[in-house]
């Protein structure tokens, strides 16, 4: 990670400010703030139940936090829903796979191109030149992604029939297809073996390097986190207890306590 990057880390692209999220009386996230910088790979770590996935769901608009603001590209999002956030250039994958099970791999990835396709249903129904043209172009784009992720051999298989590791890849492909500025990856390597993990890391680094895509990923494997991330946010009990480069965070006493389980007061 020492060689010069094609896309050096820049200004904040995603600003999470004082987010609090409660489910009834349960506080999932409490007054959490951090910035993600353009072109970086940012890891969010923390013990189980620390509120990592809830945080991603807040950023993506699935959960509506009771307090706090989220700004994308310097613009504070006041009305926030997954499809509005997607239009602002943010895409994601899900912890427990949220693929379109009965659709083929290629079709799943094509859904990711939705925001790049503007033909309305009449243009599609009558196959007017605009619809035919954009279908061809986006298909070609998706073929490139399929090629890139080395899943060409399963391009026409319904994703529901694929093994877990491949489904994770397809989900990454779908997120990549959006060409979003920022990708949220919720445990992209969970349940993978060492080899699959290595592959996934390679893809993440390659995408970041080739397109400058900002990545926010939740991961449990510390080795992976320390290897690929530029900065790490540590959550515990819905609060940020560490934020900085991996080496700094690893040496932080509060982080060590959280992971080793020191009694909370």
């Amino acid at each position: 990670m020492v060689e010069a990057r094609r896309f050096p880390i820049g200004e904040p692209i995603l600003e999470v400010k004082n987010i609090s999220l409660r489910f009834g009386g349960v506080r999932a996230i409490t007054d959490t703030s951090f910035n993600v910088f353009r072109h970086e790979i940012r890891a969010i770590i923390g013990p189980n139940g620390a509120g990592k996935s809830s945080l991603l769901n807040c950023i993506n608009g699935i959960y509506k936090p009771q307090e706090g603001t989220i700004a994308l590209n310097g613009e504070v999002l006041d009305k926030i829903s997954p499809n509005i956030v997607a239009r602002k250039g943010l895409s994601r994958t899900f912890q427990n796979l949220a693929l379109f099970k009965r659709m083929s791999v290629l079709d799943n990835i094509l859904v990711g191109r939705k925001l790049h396709m503007s033909a309305n249903f009449l243009e599609v129904a009558f196959r007017l030149p605009k619809a035919v043209h954009e279908e061809r172009e986006n298909r070609a784009k998706c073929e490139e992604i399929v090629e890139f992720l080395e899943i060409s051999h399963i391009r026409d298989t319904p994703v529901g029939r694929l093994p877990y590791g491949l489904q994770k890849k397809v989900e990454l492909g779908r997120a990549l297809a959006t060409e979003a500025d920022i990708l949220l990856l919720d445990e992209p390597m969970a349940g993978m073996n060492v080899e699959e993990k290595r592959d996934m890391c390679r893809f993440i680094l390659k995408v970041n390097d080739a397109f400058g895509t900002t990545m926010v990923l939740i991961e449990h494997d510390m080795g992976v986190v320390m290897d690929i991330s530029d900065n790490v946010v540590v959550l515990d009990y819905g609060k940020v207890i560490g934020d900085g480069p991996p080496d700094e965070v690893r040496a932080d006493q509060a982080v060590i306590d959280a992971y080793l389980g020191v009694a909370h007061d």
């Binding site: 499809n83 129904a125 592959d199």
Partner: protein, 354 residues
């Protein structure tokens, strides 16, 4: 892969299929079948109900919204068509047909609204409202029936460019053309970005929304297009098959029939709508002729019609358990098996090289 496409994104086999189907429907059948019974009692109702089933397929098989009330939209389309021809001077039949579809589509949007809040079986109950409301409205306000008190109104003759289409064969040709055009449009939509958005909403709505798909627009669009197909189908059904207009013809039984066509034919395939419609329509005919010709009336007609219900019920359960994708899927499995034998290499995955 682009070399596979002949034009407009159609493959060679698409074009061959289309030409074969149209040749059979427009040339072979009119040349070989002379009996009016076949046109008036089998082909015309089959095509009309298949078109309605395509509508049901769009909302249920593609967009995944469990809606029940296709017959309500059919009634809306049928009575809209009747009133348009009756009240608008010089209204050409094709235009009236399209406008009836649009009126049904407006109802589709209205009764699709509950899908934004509820899903599954609850949505089914909510959409039943369309069934009861539309039929009730037509019954309640005499204007829709032109203040006819007999309860049954004769449909006007179909006249296109001054030429009346009144014999069964002529009506059949009208129905074939309308159904063929609308089916091609439906296939185009389901294969294109429109259909992908529907299926994405069906398979995983949260992920679909995260990819920038608006659930509100996509669901209402599916309801509207579905109702459009049902509306046109209802108008055709009334004008070419029933030749009369009565709200009772569009009761809940018809909605269920269309639902079963889609389930038996196979959810999420356009061909399933046609296969399912053929099965549901022909099965009683086959049973009856079995009763008449094999058992020579020894079995009572009421027993036969009861047996029909039992067999339908059993089949639906069997399909739901063993092959939720219906008869189309069975047919594809058969095809797949033969293909596999011929060229086994094509379907084996390539070893992955990293």
């Amino acid at each position: 892969m682009n070399s596979n496409f002949l034009f407009m994104g159609y493959t060679r086999s698409d074009v061959i299929n289309l030409v074969v189907v149209l040749a059979v429907a427009l040339i072979l059948i009119p040349l070989t079948i002379e009996s009016d019974y076949w046109y008036a009692s089998i082909l015309i109702p089959w095509l009309c109900l298949a078109l309605a089933a395509v509508g049901q397929q769009i909302v249920m098989g593609y967009a995944g919204q469990l809606a029940l009330g296709a017959a309500g939209f059919m009634a809306a389309g049928a009575f809209a068509c009747f009133n348009l021809i009756l009240r608008v001077p010089y209204m050409p039949f094709p235009v009236a047909l399209m406008l009836s579809g649009l009126i049904a589509a407006a109802f589709g949007v209205l009764f699709g609204l509950p899908s934004l809040r509820v899903r599954g079986i609850y949505l089914m109950v909510a959409t039943l409202a369309s069934q009861f409301f539309i039929v009730w409205m037509i019954d309640k306000f005499g204007w829709f029936k032109n203040y006819d008190t007999s309860g049954i109104i004769t449909a006007q003759d179909i006249v296109i460019f001054g030429k009346p289409f009144t014999t069964p064969l002529e009506m059949y040709l009208v129905v074939v053309v309308v159904v063929a055009v609308l089916t091609i449009l439906a296939i185009n939509m389901t294969r294109g970005s429109t259909g992908r958005s529907w299926m994405a909403v069906r398979d995983m709505d949260i992920a679909a929304e995260s990819m920038g798909i608006s659930l509100l627009r996509t669901k209402l669009q599916a309801f509207a297009i579905s109702a459009f197909f049902c509306g046109v189908a209802g108008a055709l059904f009334a004008f070419t098959y029933l030749k009369s207009l009565e709200p009772v013809a569009f009761d809940i039984k018809l909605s269920f029939k269309i639902l079963f066509m889609v389930i038996l034919g196979g959810l999420g395939t356009i061909s399933g709508a046609f296969i399912g419609a053929a099965f549901i329509l022909l099965f009683p005919v086959v049973l009856n002729s079995l009763g008449n010709n094999v058992f020579h009336g020894a079995i009572d007609a009421t027993i036969i019609s009861a047996a029909e219900q039992v067999v339908f019920g059993a089949l639906i359960i069997v399909f739901m358990i063993y092959e939720p994708l219906g008869m189309t899927k069975l047919w594809e499995n058969v095809k797949q098996r033969f293909r596999f034998k011929r060229e086994p290499k094509a379907t084996l995955p390539k070893p992955q090289v990293t």
